[in-house]
């Protein structure tokens, strides 16, 4: 078994008075794709936002390569090598595609420029619309931009929240390709409602229900377990 890159241990998070995460424990293996599954409102997005520091956990620990990152500011966590592709893309609509990418690029050395060039090779549409305002892109292109933005830094871990949401099936096919490319660069923690897509990409799964991780294992085991799928995912 490969070593663990990201580890959450009994994480509790509140949003206002609401106790949303009530004990999330998970371990993401290095260079693998781990998918978080669960019904709407189970706490998947809250888990992601807690990892990147936008929400502070009230209890529990979050470790990256064994070192605690909970309690750090979001920008400090990002600089530890965690890229975030949020739900709804989080791109800057009034900035151009190029500006979105430059904003994300933290280094300014030759290596950073070379990496940006490689990312643009991966997404020819972005190269084509580099000078266009990001707000004018299609839904799929916006999602590609959001993913590309997470790839321009040498991130060790990429958190991707519901990338297929609201996209047409044909676009999702391209997206799966992009995410496969992502997998070659870093460890991926994915939240995904689209089970077919999760199945195509993930190595491991975690099931979240009512703010707790209730099951985990290799993705293949979940695919074969109809009772588990029906109970927690309704499929």
């Amino acid at each position: 078994m490969a070593e663990t890159l990201l580890e959450l241990d009994d994480v509790h998070t509140y949003i206002g008075q609401h106790h949303i995460l009530q004990g999330v424990t998970l371990a993401a293996r290095r260079d693998a794709v781990t998918v978080l599954l669960g019904r709407n409102g189970a706490g998947k997005t809250t888990t992601m936002r807690t990892i990147v520091g936008l929400l502070q956990p009230a209890r529990g620990s979050i470790r990256l390569e064994g070192r605690p990152i909970h309690g750090l500011k979001p920008y400090e966590i990002a600089r530890r090598g965690i890229g975030f592709v949020p739900e709804g893309q989080g791109i800057f609509a009034t900035l151009t595609v190029d500006e979105n990418l430059r904003l994300a690029r933290l280094g300014d050395d030759a290596e950073a420029h070379a990496r940006l060039a490689r990312v643009l090779e991966l997404f020819p549409d972005l190269e084509r619309f580099r000078a266009a305002r990001a707000g004018t892109l299609s839904g799929g292109q916006k999602q590609m931009l959001s993913i590309a933005r997470a790839l321009v830094n040498p991130n060790r871990l990429l958190l991707v929240d519901e990338p297929s949401k609201g996209l047409a099936p044909i676009v999702i096919e391209h997206l799966v390709e992009a995410l496969r490319a992502m997998k070659a660069h870093a460890t991926v923690l994915l939240v995904e409602q689209n089970f077919a897509m999760a199945q195509a990409l993930a190595d491991d799964f975690y099931l979240i229900d009512d703010g707790r991780t209730v099951h985990h294992g290799p993705m293949a085991a979940l695919v074969a377990d109809d009772a588990l799928k029906k109970r927690y995912l309704g499929i």
Binding site: V52, G53, L54, K73, P74, Y75, A78, R79, F84, P86, G90, F92, A93, T94, L95, E99, R102, L103, A104, L106, R149, N153
Partner: protein
């Protein structure tokens, strides 16, 4: 075409009064209006960035305007009393005096702005009601401090010799101070446009106006930029105060509060967070105020309110607003 609409609107509004005003008077009013617009812009530019980027309603911006005016006033008075720089018929000395005044005004605004942001604004991020109350409180304290330090009465602002009086251009009287104000305002706009449009800091600030949370997740310490923008905006308020004092040839402890109303109107007309919107908004307010004050003096302030209502009805997010 849609993007050009606000500029067309300004031009249209500027030409409309020609129907009722004699051309030479019109030209004088236009220059006065442009100057007033530029002075309002100095105040509004900081306000719109602070509001747009940090979502902070800073009512103390007006007090920083007053402090800038008094700091510049003090510098000009001292240098004139000791060295006679304001009265000297030397362009170099007069310009140098103005620059020293500008530096003093901006430094006063900057220092007070940073203290305000660190001490009273930071604890109330995200809470508008508290922001309004605490910055209004700060305004009262800062204004009273001016009364303690400089006295409660109006004082006469010394105007450097070179900038007194007017130029006579083909029978049109062109006052010098307004021209200085217009040049300064354009310079400030160009500087802000350069920083926002061409530098990495500007890129981060523009992105922060749109989505501050995401900027942080991309690895940028947005709070550092918040403080920087607050400081720059405050320095501009101080500069606006000094220029207004020279324009009106007087300083008063409450001068900032009066200008703040115009600045808020401008920020709303232009669209929150948009510097170009603020510039056009300022010019609209400055021009319409001067034309209407000439034609129907009693309606001068009312017309600005009416303009704001009409523009908001047509474009609820303001001329250049992103609709945030």
């Amino acid at each position: 075409m849609r993007r050009a609409a606000p500029a067309v609107l300004v031009l249209g509004l500027a030409l409309l009064p020609l129907a009722a005003i004699e051309p030479r008077v019109y030209l004088t009013l236009t220059i006065a209006g442009l100057a007033m617009g530029m002075l309002i812009f100095l105040v509004a530019a900081g306000l719109t960035l602070i509001f747009g980027l940090m979502d902070v309603l800073n009512f103390a911006h007006g007090a920083l305007f007053s402090w800038g005016a008094y700091a510049g006033f003090t510098a000009l008075v001292l240098l004139n009393e000791r060295l006679g720089w304001a009265e000297a018929p030397s362009v170099a000395l007069n310009v140098l005096l103005l620059l020293v005044g500008v530096a003093a005004a901006m430094a006063a605004g900057l220092v007070l702005g940073v203290v305000l942001e660190r001490v009273i604004v930071r604890p109330v991020y995200g809470r508008h009601m508290f922001q309004i109350l605490i910055t209004l409180g700060a305004t009262i304290v800062l204004e009273e401090l001016i009364r303690i330090g400089w006295g409660p009465n109006d004082q006469v602002m010394p105007v450097p010799f070179t900038f007194q009086g007017s130029w006579d251009l083909a029978d049109v009287i062109v006052l010098r101070v307004p021209v200085v104000a217009i040049v300064l305002g354009l310079g400030v706009y160009a500087a802000i446009a350069f920083v926002l449009g061409r530098t990495r800091v500007g890129l981060i600030v523009r992105a922060g106006v749109e989505n501050g949370e995401m900027v942080q997740v991309l690895g940028h310490n947005i709070h550092r930029y918040f403080t920087g923008v607050f400081a720059a905006g405050s320095a501009l308020a101080g500069l606006g105060g000094l220029m207004w004092a020279i324009f009106s040839q007087s300083v008063r402890p409450a001068m900032g509060g009066e200008q703040l109303i115009f600045a808020f109107i401008v920020v709303i007309i232009g669209g929150l967070g948009s510097v170009t919107g603020s510039l056009l908004g300022s010019l609209i307010v400055g021009l319409s105020y001067n034309y209407v004050a000439f034609l129907v003096p009693k309606a001068a302030i009312g017309v600005n309110m009416a303009l704001m209502v009409v523009i908001l009805l047509l474009r609820p997010a303001g001329l250049f607003g992103s609709g945030k």
